[in-house]
Amino acid sequence: MNHGPLIFLGALVTMAISWCGLIFTPQLQLGRMEQAPMKLLAPAYPAGRPGIAAQGREVYRALGCAECHTQQVRPSGDNTDLERGWGLRRTVARDFLTDSPVLVGRLRVGPDLANIAIREPKQFAVPWQYKTQSNHVEELELWHYAHLYNPRAVSPGSIMPAYRYLFEERTPSPKRPPSLDALPPEITARLTGVKNGAFEIVPRREARALVAYLMSLRADAPLFEAPVQITADAKVPNAASATNAPAANASGTNAPATNVPATPAPISK
């Protein structure tokens, strides 16, 4: 018997069922999603990332960072994502409303980055400590620069590739005065062993954008579908509130966190 038309029809109908169920229906549900209004004068969540962070997302995509890093915090269950301090709550669809592409990742060769902007140094893959009481945003940014330049200098045992091509390496001379944007000499010395400012590491625009993107990664706004429970003993990791910048997220209140760092801190001199 000739079943040709039956197969054509069958293949089309089954695919149509799958398409309607798993593409069209989610589009009806997710495509209508709006930003969540927030209390206390904060912008609706999620606000779009600031320009340089949005450019950093392109660097993140182009270098394939999502091959090894997820941005998915799982709800509590048979996993330790929340206990590890990787987030205050699970990540939900709304967290990615303003992102394109949405780089949620699928493999954790390296740690999850959904909340890397507000992670406590002791919760990093290789823990470290802030040296100062107040300049935490700046210290965190410098840590990222150092880590991108030479991951194994700050995280011994890491298998992340070094991204030295995101930096300009230069030797100051009378004709070329030292760059104002160069990493501090003590960090350069730690990364390369060259002291006395004889050698400079200057982040290129791609590196700045990438770090700005990383510093914008925080999915911690309390949402209806993903409430944040703040218990008395739980410490709210919040790098931004430790600076003298206006805090975007006061601990203990229901104030929102935006996807935006409170103030884009200047690159340290």
């Binding site: 593409i23 997710l30 999603m33 270098l63 590890r84 303003t98």
Partner: protein, 499 residues
């Protein structure tokens, strides 16, 4: 012994040997002899097969280098082109689009012509598709290495390359449809069901994914939905359809007996069509909870298709012994079908709450992908090529040892890759389940395994060299043999024509 010995070719390559189970007797007088079918396919299938093998070698090599980058991150680290985040997606794209789909289409063309007992009808569109598709793959590869990868697994090729691929596949679809319509054997064999559906399904899912991710980017996580839906359907619908079509065709050929049950094959087709298209959403993804739930159910129901396929193959090959059991095509397909069955099982287990959550984000999920993309697609299509290519060239493989070397080294490579990824994944899972252990410990624990996996990929790549050597010798015979064969040709041909 080799499958492609002339004796075997005559015994199993005769048209009618396979579709006997479903063939209608009145059609046979129309049928074109197998040799004539092969001849008509030659210019459509041969370029696809050779290009696919080239991409396969390059892809495996790049995957090997990428894996070594994880083990020795400071070597080759001065260039963005060679960073892991570009090499690895580029390699996977080559294995999926450069080899996988192109090889599936090449085999499908040949099977459609053979089972239809007709001349291949669309050589021109097939060649046009070949040009578009391969330029798409080459441009897409350059795009990923230059930093234009999309960031979505299996959809990394930039927009412009995706358009070329879609256009190329459209031409291939036309060629397949023309050949299918021109068939002289109206009764359909299960392989034809799978192939026709495979062409329709891939065009649909690829167009949908391109549309929602590149042409009119959907809002927020809808892009993830489209990407995951595409990836799952690519693996469990399109590759499964093309690969099972080849298996349903070649296993009876290799064993010399008809398929145990055409009805079971059709049952597998319908269960695959309904449930193969329903999975792909892991519970961890930031999506509404009903989506992983639906996925999990569909993955469970897909096991019915796996049972039907397993039963059919076990019954078909049951009791074959001696020379047939050692048949090369059968060896490749035995491994490929086992890989597919395991992949369906793994997909189900990884969508279960406890096991799935333990292994989510670990290398075990990569092992599951390798199982279907390398174990099923690469091994199965290579098995098909070993049967198909000598018949297209109308000459035997020059070297009889090299196919065996190719088989054994490839299967050893796959086993090493699988074992090392599973080992790495278990090490990660054990480390993560305790919140007090540092994340770095999971990296340290999996490092040795990753080194083994890199060796496995390189071994797999090296395993393909015998195949190329064989092809090279075959081409040289063809070229050099021209003059010596002329005499035979002149002597033989006229008698045929005159008689």
């Amino acid at each position: 012994m080799s499958v492609s010995s002339p004796a075997n070719l005559n015994a199993a390559g005769r048209p009618g040997a396979v579709p006997a189970a479903v063939a209608s007797p009145d059609a046979v007088h129309n049928a074109l002899p197998a040799e004539a079918v092969d001849k008509s396919c030659r210019w459509a299938v041969w370029p696809l097969a050779v290009a696919a093998l080239g991409w396969l070698f390059l892809g495996l090599l790049m995957q090997g280098v990428a894996s070594f980058r994880l083990v020795a991150p400071d070597i080759l680290s001065d260039s963005a082109v060679l960073t892991y985040g570009r090499l690895r997606p580029a390699a996977v794209e080559l294995l999926i689009y450069g080899f996988g789909l192109q090889a599936c289409v090449a085999t499908a063309f040949w099977i459609l012509a053979r089972l239809g007992r007709t001349q291949f009808q669309g050589t021109a569109p097939a060649i046009a598709g070949w040009v578009l598709w391969n330029s798409g793959v080459a441009i897409g590869l350059a795009g990923i290495l230059a930093g234009s990868g999309s960031g979505y697994e299996a959809l990394q090729f930039p927009k412009y390359a995706g358009l070329l691929l879609l256009a190329g596949f459209g031409f291939w679809g036309v060629a397949a449809f023309l050949t299918f319509s021109a068939r002289r054997e109206p009764a359909l064999y299960p392989s034809q069901w799978f192939i026709i559906a495979g062409f329709l399904w891939f065009a649909w899912i690829y167009a949908t994914a391109q549309c929602l991710i590149f042409w009119m980017p959907a809002r927020g996580v809808m892009q993830v939905v489209a990407g995951q839906w595409y990836l799952h359907n690519l693996k469990f619908l399109c590759f499964s359809a093309f690969g099972l079509a080849a298996a349903f065709y070649f296993i009876p050929k290799a064993t010399g007996r008809p398929l145990y049950s055409a009805a079971l094959a059709k049952f597998a087709f319908w269960t695959l069509a309904f449930f193969g298209a329903g999975g792909g959403f892991a519970a961890s993804l930031p999506l509404p909870r009903w989506m992983p739930a639906v996925s999990s159910v569909c993955n469970f129901l897909l096991l019915t298709a796996a049972v039907a396929v397993a039963l059919n193959f076990l019954k078909t090959v049951a009791g074959v012994g001696g020379a047939v059991a050692g048949n090369l095509s059968l060896r490749w397909f035995r491994l490929a079908v086992s890989a597919w069955l395991l992949a369906v099982l793994a997909e189900f287990l990884l969508s279960r709450p406890v096991i799935g959550e333990y292994f989510r984000f670990t290398w075990v999920t990569t092992a599951a992908d390798v199982l279907i993309l390398a174990g099923f697609v690469i091994l199965g299509q290579l098995g098909a090529f070993y049967y198909m290519m000598p018949r297209l060239a109308q000459k035997d493989w020059p070297c009889q040892v090299s196919p065996k070397a190719n088989f054994w080294v490839s299967s050893a490579g796959i086993l090493i890759i699988m074992a090392s990824y599973i080992g790495a994944g278990i090490a990660q899972g054990r480390s993560w389940i305790n919140a007090d252990t540092l994340f770095l410990e999971s990296v340290t624990a999996s490092k040795t395994w990753l080194a083994v996996s890199a060796a496995g990929w390189l071994l797999f790549a090296i395993g393909q060299i015998p195949m190329f050597a064989n092809l090279f010798f075959m081409a040289r015979q063809e070229l050099r043999g021209c003059c010596c064969c002329c005499a035979d040709f002149e002597a033989g041909k006229p008698t045929e024509v005159r008689s």
